[in-house]
């Protein structure tokens, strides 16, 4: 009976998620209107800062780059669905058990679902965010960096999925995962470089940030897209996928342990 290869299975799951998510397009557009507010506030903030400094660039970033940097990081962060809400719901309601009856990998299923959802949201956010930024501060100097964005964002979302999944899987042991997710999101805002590039941080914090996986999620793709440090692209990709693999391994172990707990104690 077997004729479809396993990857085909997951490609189809991705396709069906994409179609299902189209039902929420209006919702996404409304959500991404939030970008308007954020970009406006930061525009005021950076304008004042740049005026105060009296320079055209701060730590290598021009005002325009800074604004476009924000477009990319915000578009990414706003594109990520809450894995915690989803997994916690599944674990609590026992749905996770019923997923196990089907011949499909739980983690791969969620990864594909997450990635296709993110893809559609990211594109919407990016379109809207770019339009707003274009109207507010003018076009981004198109450079080679932008071409790397899809690949970088792909890696960034993968790391984000792994970390998000790790937090979400704690639902097997603790009742409530929202608290952890809240902390995780705040880390992403700060040392993850969502609000501003890591270069702007004090030295100590910068060093810490460089040793953590959070920089690979939105900071790497956004700084590449605004045309910074092209020489480091290969290195950044390597670091990104190293983290993805490493955290992926931890996720896999956590999942195995969680399932065993479910197997033994019914979750």
């Amino acid at each position: 009976m077997i004729s479809f290869s396993k990857p085909a299975k997951y490609i189809f799951i991705g396709k069906i998620t994409l179609r299902s998510q189209l039902a929420y397009v209006v919702d996404f557009v409304i959500r991404s209107l939030f970008l308007l507010l954020i970009l406006y506030i930061f525009m005021q903030l950076w304008q004042t800062t740049f005026a105060g400094e009296g320079t055209t660039a701060i730590n290598g970033y021009t005002f325009k780059q800074m604004m476009w940097y924000l477009v990319f990081t915000e578009s990414m962060v706003l594109a990520t669905p809450s894995l915690c809400t989803r997994i916690e719901e599944e674990v609590k309601s026992g749905d996770v058990a019923f997923k196990l009856i089907r011949p499909v990998s739980f983690l791969a299923f969620h990864y594909v679902e997450y990635m296709s959802e993110v893809a559609i949201r990211f594109v919407i956010n990016l379109l809207l965010g770019s339009t707003i930024a274009f109207l507010m501060v003018g076009s981004l100097p198109v450079g080679a960096g932008l071409a790397w964005l899809p690949l970088m964002a792909f890696g960034g979302f993968t790391v984000n999925f792994m970390l998000g999944m790790l937090v979400a899987l704690s639902a097997f042991w603790v009742e409530e995962t929202r608290g952890l997710e809240f902390v995780y999101n705040k880390i992403l805002f700060t040392v993850g470089g969502m609000l501003m590039p890591l270069e702007l941080f004090p030295d100590k914090l910068q060093q810490i940030g460089h040793w953590l996986p959070f920089q690979t999620i939105v900071y790497f793709p956004a700084r590449t897209a605004v045309g910074m440090h092209h020489g480091e692209i290969a290195g950044m990709l390597a670091v990104q996928w190293l983290w993805a693999a490493l955290i992926g391994l931890v996720v896999w172990f956590a999942y195995r342990k969680g399932v065993r707990k479910l197997n033994v104690n019914g979750g």
């Binding site: 009976m1 189809f12 069906i16 179609r19 299902s20 058990a97 009856i101 011949p103 479910l262 019914g266």
Partner: protein
């Protein structure tokens, strides 16, 4: 051929013990205490391929724990089980291709998409050959009369329509055994009837083993030949549904139309349920007396115009059965 074989299957859960109040909660946080709770205690049974079995028991009797063990989700504390020749918990993914499941309270259909898309997804998940799939899908669509809903998003379907799609989706990969958990919950009488017919049809034509849990007496009566009843983790009855009826059927209902108002009726083992003039409904305790002796007693003093003897509905039998368990527990 054996479809399901279970021997001395046992499942003991560790349950956290919590005392009432804040101090109790704090204590449990730092020094959790566990007690063992046996959900399933050494049950043994076997089901032949193509059998239709109702798995019954009051809430908390261990039904879903058993189903979870048979589908490989839960690992038992001890004992063995074999489903279609596989050990469910060590060969779960292999078994997954050969069993189907319908959970009345959980949907496997994609909410925003038409059922056809979920069917398509199932065909990929179960790695079906293209031709096999389209052929199978079309025959299920025809049989379950799904034509009109195929392109409607699931969220817009009625519960009955959705349930038919759910069952069809779980049959696409031609499972040899189908686990149904409350498949008719919340449905109206007509739809229930239709769904039962469809399941029976599948069983007859394809020899699919049906393993069903339900609180609906009609499901048991119309769908299943055999019943296994568990209570407190142990099997209390295993046999033909017909036989179960007889065993727990301690009363019969007699409807009578007499020529004249009989006045006061006092017969041993007979209770008058309703009466209006010469029309009477009696409940006869067959453990105490026989229908025959009641009839002859009545005929000796009254003229009978019309009479019907009925078994009480399955509903009553099941509630009486559960009631018997409780009464026994009270004595113990």
């Amino acid at each position: 051929m054996r479809s399901i074989q279970v021997e001395q299957l046992e499942k003991v859960f560790q349950v956290k013990k919590k005392q009432a109040g804040l101090t109790g909660s704090l204590k449990a946080l730092f020094k959790p205490q566990f007690t063992d709770k046996a959900a399933v205690e050494g049950i043994t049974f076997s089901v032949e391929q193509g059998e239709t079995v109702a798995f019954l028991g009051p809430n908390g009797a261990g039904k879903s724990t058993t189903i979870k063990m048979l589908t490989g989700i839960l690992h038992p504390s001890s004992g063995t089980a074999e489903v279609l020749g596989c050990c469910p918990w060590t060969e779960r993914s292999k078994l997954a291709y050969r069993i189907g499941s319908v959970f009345g309270q959980k949907s496997q259909l994609w909410y925003h998409l038409p059922p056809l898309d979920t069917f398509e997804l199932m065909s990929r998940i179960y790695e079906l050959r293209r031709n096999d799939y389209t052929e199978r899908r079309d025959s299920l669509i025809e049989r379950f009369e799904l034509g009109p809903y195929l392109h409607t998003p699931v969220r817009k379907l009625s519960l009955g329509e959705r349930m038919r799609c759910e069952i069809a989706a779980s049959l696409l990969h031609r499972p040899q055994a189908l686990f149904l958990d409350e498949p008719t919950i919340g449905l109206d009488a007509v739809v229930k009837q239709r769904i039962r017919e469809l399941i029976v049809e599948m069983n007859r034509e394809e020899g699919t083993t049906i393993f069903l849990t339900s609180h609906d007496a009609g499901d048991v009566e119309k769908l299943c030949d055999r019943a296994i009843v568990i209570n407190h983790g142990g099997i209390v009855f295993d046999g033909q549904v017909e036989f179960m009826k007889q065993q727990f059927l301690t009363h019969k209902t007699v409807q009578l139309v007499l020529e004249n108002d009989p006045g006061q009726l006092s017969l041993d083992g007979v209770a008058v349920l309703t009466r209006s003039g010469s029309r009477l409904t009696l409940s006869v305790d067959t453990g105490h007396t026989t229908i025959e002796s009641v009839m002859s007693a009545l005929m000796s003093s009254h003229r009978i115009v019309d009479m019907t003897v009925q078994d009480p509905p399955m509903e009553d039998i099941i509630s009486r059965m559960y009631g018997t368990f409780r009464a026994k527990e009270a004595v113990m």
